[in-house]
């Protein structure tokens, strides 16, 4: 063949690579934000698909526990939001048969579970802690939560807020936690009641709970989620 024909063949082959140029969209700020949001959304969708309701996170022997004093206190704002324990109740609202204020004694009357599980922080570190409390599904039964509801949202004493998908909320290792290392929760670790969710990243384990809402639609994701972090972040 003559050279011009060969050049045409090469040009055609080169043009077949033009879809790669589409990545340039990530360089345009107005397109970048929605594209990355979609990417994170896809990742969360895949995460939810990969979640297995009956699959348990590994529970560790006591010998592998991180010493209590080396368990980081990762409050976003203050270590102690000054909860007055005598007056404390967990206010339950939303799609439940028995909304109202629930006392610590009512929560502690429910079956207790103690577990040594890994707490994984989004920053990249992790610790193995001993947590005790009542499985959240026990509490949801007590308040008569609508089994068709999709989300659990919590509000904290320090303005932090969080949410869980229902599948995770009723996972057997998801606790309304009131003990760490067999002792009542300390203030820095979220007294009197916090969430422990071994199948979720650390920022989902909200501390100093004050309100819990069961809902069909998610109004707010969470303190970090609403700033751009993954809203599902299942481990």
């Amino acid at each position: 063949m003559d050279e011009s024909k060969f050049k045409r063949i090469k040009r055609r082959e080169l043009l077949k690579l033009t879809p790669v140029v589409a990545f340039g969209a990530f360089a345009i700020p107005n397109l970048r934000t929605p594209l990355l949001k979609a990417g994170l959304g896809f990742s969360d969708w895949a995460s939810a698909k990969l979640f297995r309701p009956g699959h348990l996170a590994v529970e560790f022997p006591d010998a592998e526990l991180t010493p209590f004093e080396k368990f980081p206190i990762n409050g976003y704002d203050v270590d102690d939001p000054g909860v007055i324990f005598e007056n404390w109740t967990l206010t339950v609202t939303g799609a439940v048969q028995k909304p109202g204020d629930y006392t610590l004694a009512q929560i502690q009357a429910l079956p207790r579970k103690r577990q040594n599980t890994r707490h994984v922080c989004v920053e990249g570190w992790d610790v193995i802690g001993r947590f005790g409390g009542t499985p959240l599904y026990e509490f949801l039964k007590l308040v008569g939560a609508d089994p068709t509801a999709k989300f659990i949202s919590v509000q904290c004493a320090d303005d932090y807020y969080e949410s869980l998908d229902m599948a995770t909320a009723i996972h057997p290792q998801t606790l309304l936690c009131y003990e760490m290392y067999d002792q009542p929760l300390t203030r820095e670790h979220g007294a009197p009641v916090r969430l422990t969710v071994p199948t979720k990243i650390g920022y989902k384990h909200a501390k100093y709970l004050t309100d819990l809402k069961v809902s069909h639609v998610l109004e707010r994701g969470g303190y970090w989620e609403d700033q751009g972090y993954s809203s599902f972040y299942g481990l």
Binding site: D2, I9, L14, K16, G39, F42, K70, V122, Q227
Partner: protein, 237 residues
């Protein structure tokens, strides 16, 4: 596997030249998509690393290195994660597309290092680093090149493996065991990243040294007059 060869007449000189179709579209396409994805994943990965630049305990934290923010992508941890969790899917998809294509087309023979290549690796190293004589090319990729590319593919698989353990230590707990557990996964992921960066640096040096015709072959697929095909006797034309 028989490579496609064309013979054409150079317009200026009238001389006969040959060209070989070395890189099918899938290989070129996944190569460039992965080049973009790797750039993003390394940049955003270093941003994620900045949030906890250590591999030990959080208390007391001993930072390994303070990676500069200007050499990281995403601005802060959440931004880095957005880039990382978006491009990891592109990286995995093109990786699977590439490996699937190579396997089923038989084209993998061009790149996969085999025992008979071992003998040829040292002469190439001698040539590149100690100015030894250049061994003749007998195939599209020389033995050292095949070793490097095969290693890069293995590193790619390891990067996804270790990454999945970090992303999903509960659901993919079974993937953590062979690499020594969840806590080592982050270190492996980091080391595999640097190994890939090292490969890319070496790769780019070679691209520069081997010139335009070689570079263009990864864009058009065609390489003109490669040494390993017998050029038809030009004097006869």
């Amino acid at each position: 596997m028989q490579a496609e060869v064309v013979e054409f007449e150079a317009a200026k000189t009238g001389e006969l030249a040959q060209a070989v179709y070395e890189h099918p579209w899938v290989v070129r396409f996944t190569h460039w998509v992965n080049a973009v994805a790797l750039f993003v994943l390394v940049g955003s990965g270093l941003q994620i690393f900045r949030a906890f630049p250590s591999f030990g305990a959080k208390i007391p934290e001993k930072d390994l290195l303070n990676w500069p923010k200007s050499f990281a992508l995403g601005g802060w941890l959440a931004g880095g994660l957005q880039w990382h969790l978006t491009f990891m899917w592109i990286y995995i998809a093109t990786g699977l597309f590439y490996i699937g294509y190579q396997t089923f087309s038989g084209h993998y023979r061009q790149v996969l290092v085999v025992p008979s290549d071992v003998r040829g690796v040292w002469p190439m190293i001698k040539h590149y680093f100690f100015f030894g004589a250049k061994p003749p090319d007998t195939q599209a990729y020389n033995p050292l090149q095949k070793l490097a590319y095969t290693s890069a593919i293995v590193l790619g698989v390891l990067s996804v493996w270790t990454g999945l353990v970090i992303w999903k230590p509960v659901q993919f707990a079974w993937l953590a065991w062979p690499i020594g557990g969840f806590q080592l996964a982050r270190l492996w992921h980091f080391l595999v990243m640097w190994a890939i960066v090292l490969f890319v640096v070496g790769h780019l040096v070679m691209v520069v040294l081997h010139g335009w015709n070689n570079f263009m072959s990864m864009l058009t697929g065609w390489k003109k007059d490669p040494e390993y095909i017998s050029v038809s006797p030009r004097s006869e034309t």
